[in-house]
């Protein structure tokens, strides 16, 4: 599903990037795909609608249509706007200052509150704080046991009060305990409900009132569907939470709920939960999230890098050579250098849509190095006319580059194949694009 989407998206943008001039209709067509991507990522439909309208206004404006590369400009606008909506630079978690400070954690049942509380305790302790974990979920069977066990795993104290104590009293007792017991942050793990209800909100309001927390963090399951707007809306209205945590982001959810949350509340997303282990807590990055929601890998960064490193003049020369079929090993070598300038290959692969989901790809940087060494060991004459490479020349090159004759043969064969392919590309017409395909298989 993911790859399919990526592909559709790329196609929509390819029609854009392929054109010198854009019409309003082109932009609209691409934005339809954007809307679809947002909806498939579970961005609320109303939020998606207004987002696309905003982007359209910017995309049809001067800035894009007059630019040299309008297609890429649209991609950039979409991405930029989404990053902005998700929080721009991001707002990192500020260490609590009061002593003892109170951090209250709220959310629906199953969103991952208890696990997050433990992760936060670990995070704070690593930064020199002494946290106290407070088990104030008296409803779910064994929720308090769960928090106590996690606290024991971390070696952090836990507080649960006497059996039968109500949550408000537990929290008040915990703050007093923190004050006298030397803890400087009390983390309150409150009860969740199936959905936002009056009774729950009243209880949370009372806890908030009586403990004056410095932070109230809403934990939201990143797989939440269209209802995320209501959950976020209710919580912000009643509790005015100070920040959000997106949990379970280690799966393949695209996480559009983050956009809904931001659009409705404007509150910063401070953390992302990325696994069950207690160290699986990350700072939230709006830019990464935007790429994920759009299902486009880190295309923007990729586009920028290609732009940065591509020498347009050189590319034009190369195209001419291709058409004249005079592409040589020298040109091939230049292409390799251009690819290398863009950054480590495995990193580049990760930016290609869909690739990151395939799993880790082993790119053999060493193979590339060998190719370079082989070409470096050739004379300029040999590079320009590979046909003169007989057995003894090949042996010399292999020795010179520290490779084997088989390696040299393989490279020459791949070069010939590539040349043939390029010839076909050349016949297909001037695309203006140079297919770069270094022989990874070596």
């Amino acid at each position: 599903m993911f790859d399919q989407l990526s592909e559709r998206f790329q196609n929509a943008f390819r029609t854009l990037t392929g054109r010198g001039k854009l019409t309003e209709a082109n932009v609209e067509e691409a934005l339809r795909e954007v809307r679809r991507a947002l909806l498939e990522a579970d961005v609320n439909f109303k939020v998606a609608r207004s987002f696309v309208e905003d982007v359209k206004a910017r995309a049809i404006g001067d800035e894009v249509l007059r630019s040299v590369t309008p297609g890429q400009q649209v991609v950039k606008v979409v991405h930029e706007e989404l990053v902005r909506l998700l929080g721009g630079e991001g707002e990192p978690f500020r260490m609590p200052s009061a002593s003892p400070a109170v951090i209250m954690v709220v959310g629906l049942q199953g969103s991952g509150k208890t696990t997050f509380c433990a992760k936060l305790a670990r995070y704070l302790r690593k930064r020199g704080k002494s946290p106290l974990l407070v088990a104030a979920d008296t409803y779910r069977p064994a929720a308090q046991d769960q928090l106590e066990k996690l606290a024991a795993q971390l070696g952090v104290p836990a507080y649960r009060g006497a059996a039968g104590t109500d949550p408000v009293t537990i929290c008040e007792g915990a703050v007093a305990e923190a004050r006298s017991g030397g803890a400087d942050v009390a983390i309150l793990d409150t009860a969740g409900r199936l959905h936002v209800d009056e009774e729950m909100m009243v209880e949370l309001e009372r806890i908030r009132e009586s403990t004056s927390p410095e932070e109230v963090l809403l934990v939201l399951d990143s797989m939440t569907g269209q209802d995320a707007v209501n959950v976020a809306g209710e919580f912000v209205e009643r509790l005015d939470f100070t920040g959000a945590v997106l949990s379970k982001l280690d799966g393949d959810t695209r996480g559009g709920a983050a956009v809904s949350l931001r659009a409705v509340t404007g509150k910063p997303i401070k953390f992302a939960g990325v696994g069950e282990k207690l160290d699986a807590l990350e700072t939230f990055h709006p830019d990464r999230m935007a790429s994920r929601i759009l299902g486009m890998g880190d295309v923007v960064t990729l586009v920028e890098r290609v732009q940065e490193s591509a020498d347009l003049e050189q590319a034009a020369k190369l195209e001419e050579k291709l058409l004249k079929q005079s592409f040589t090993l020298e040109d091939f070598f230049e292409q390799l250098q251009a690819v290398k300038k863009m950054g480590p290959l495995d990193q580049l692969m990760g930016m290609i849509p869909g690739m990151s989901k395939v799993g880790k790809i082993d790119v053999d940087e060493g193979a590339l190095g060998r190719v370079e060494a082989i070409i470096n060991s050739m004379t300029p004459e040999e590079r320009r006319h590979p046909s003169i490479l007989d057995g003894s020349r090949r042996k010399r090159i292999a020795r010179g580059s520290g490779t084997s004759v088989q390696d040299v043969n393989r490279l020459l064969k791949q070069f010939e194949t590539m040349k043939k392919m390029m010839k076909q590309f050349g016949k297909m017409g001037k695309t203006g694009k140079v297919p770069i395909s270094p022989p990874f298989g070596m």
């Binding site: 599903m1 679809r36 909806l39 498939e40 990522a41 579970d42 609320n44 439909f45 109303k46 609608r49 629906l108 049942q109 199953g110 969103s111 991952g112 779910r140 069977p141 064994a142 929720a143 046991d145 769960q146 928090l147 106590e148 066990k149 996690l150 795993q153 199936l194 959905h195 936002v196 399951d221 797989m223 939440t224 569907g225 269209q226 209802d227 995320a228 209501n230 379970k248 280690d250 799966g251 393949d252 959810t253 695209r254 559009g256 709920a257 069950e276």
Partner: protein, 321 residues
């Protein structure tokens, strides 16, 4: 057939209101749907988590039906939609679970973290107990802190026996021991709880395969049921969950949990349409009796306010929570 008050209509209340509202808006320009009205309805369905493709399909059905008088007005639109959604859900339905040749009936329950697996198992156990069966639940979630304790509470509430494991122990071993115990005690039903895991975690999914293998090796034909619990609040990721769990352990059905009044629940429609995995049960609340058989027609009717559940009530006694 047990006499049980249906809370399904309540569970779908908010979704139904939103959809009916959307249809009303779409028809505000006249009794027949024009393209912009169809677009409104498509958005409304997407808003119920029905998904982009399936919503488009449903709107195609409406478009094809327009022009016929029976398709006019809100009544015509809701009837057409309910019929198509009912048909999609029905098409995924399988026959009832066959009685196992030799007891126990083994039910394995899987799902991602926090969807309500343990609670659903408590409710499921209660249903079997109410039917006069003996039930063992196996606490094969040895990973999450205090998961065993939580299941023990539910086992007690439901009147089932519990076979536990040690924290951090091998879940497959727990399943094996529990199956051994169930065979020895001639228990009717064994329900195996497993740790929540994301469907993308390869090693954890592999662990699930192993549990399944061990069960199958101990008793031929087992597990007879492999149920995936899906949180009704989940969006389109539920499709990926269903697909990957099905590939790993072969699902026989879905328990739709937390359908409690605000959750959308529309996600079961694309799951049925794309993957043909039937929904078997619906969890509608927090009480132990809040688990119902899934009925495609009733569900489709509940979503659109047509059929027996229009008023939102049903006859029958109502349990107090």
């Amino acid at each position: 057939m047990r006499k049980r008050f249906s809370r399904l209509a309540d569970g779908l209340a908010k979704t139904r209101l939103a959809i009916l509202d959307g249809i009303k808006n779409a028809l505000s320009r006249g009794p027949a749907l024009d393209e912009s009205g169809l677009a409104d309805i498509e958005e409304t369905l997407i808003g119920a988590d029905v998904g982009v493709d399936t919503s488009a399909h449903l709107v195609d059905v409406l478009r094809a039906g327009s022009g016929e008088r029976s398709a006019d007005g809100a009544g015509g639109v809701t009837t057409l939609l309910a019929a198509e959604i009912g048909r999609i859900l029905e098409s995924a339905c399988a026959d009832a679970t066959p009685e196992p040749a030799t007891p126990p009936l083994v039910v394995m329950v899987v799902g991602v973290n926090g969807v309500g697996k343990t609670t659903s198992i408590g409710k499921l156990a209660r249903r079997y107990v109410d039917d006069g069966k003996t039930v063992i639940v196996a606490a094969a979630d040895t990973f999450r802190a205090a998961a065993g304790e939580q299941l023990a509470v539910w086992a007690e509430r439901s009147g089932a026996q519990l076979v536990g494991g040690v924290a951090g122990g091998d879940p497959a071993a727990v399943a094996y021991d529990a199956l051994d115990a169930a065979v020895a005690r001639r228990t009717d039903v064994l329900i195996v709880d497993t740790a929540g895991r994301l469907h993308t975690q390869k090693n954890l999914v592999e662990e699930l395969r192993k549990i399944r293998r061990v069960i199958a090796g101990r008793l031929e034909g087992a597990p007879h049921e492999v149920l995936l619990v899906v949180d009704a609040n989940t969006g389109q990721n539920a499709i990926s969950q269903t697909r990957l769990f099905d590939e790993a352990v072969g699902l026989t059905g879905i328990i739709l949990a937390k359908l409690d009044g605000t959750a959308r629940g529309g996600i079961v429609v694309p799951i049925a349409r794309e993957l043909s995995i039937p929904v078997r049960y619906v969890g509608t609340g927090e009480a132990i009796d809040d688990l119902e058989d899934f009925d495609p027609g009733v569900f489709a009717g509940g979503l659109l306010g047509v059929g027996g559940v229009r008023g939102g009530t049903d006859d029958g006694p109502r349990d107090d929570r």
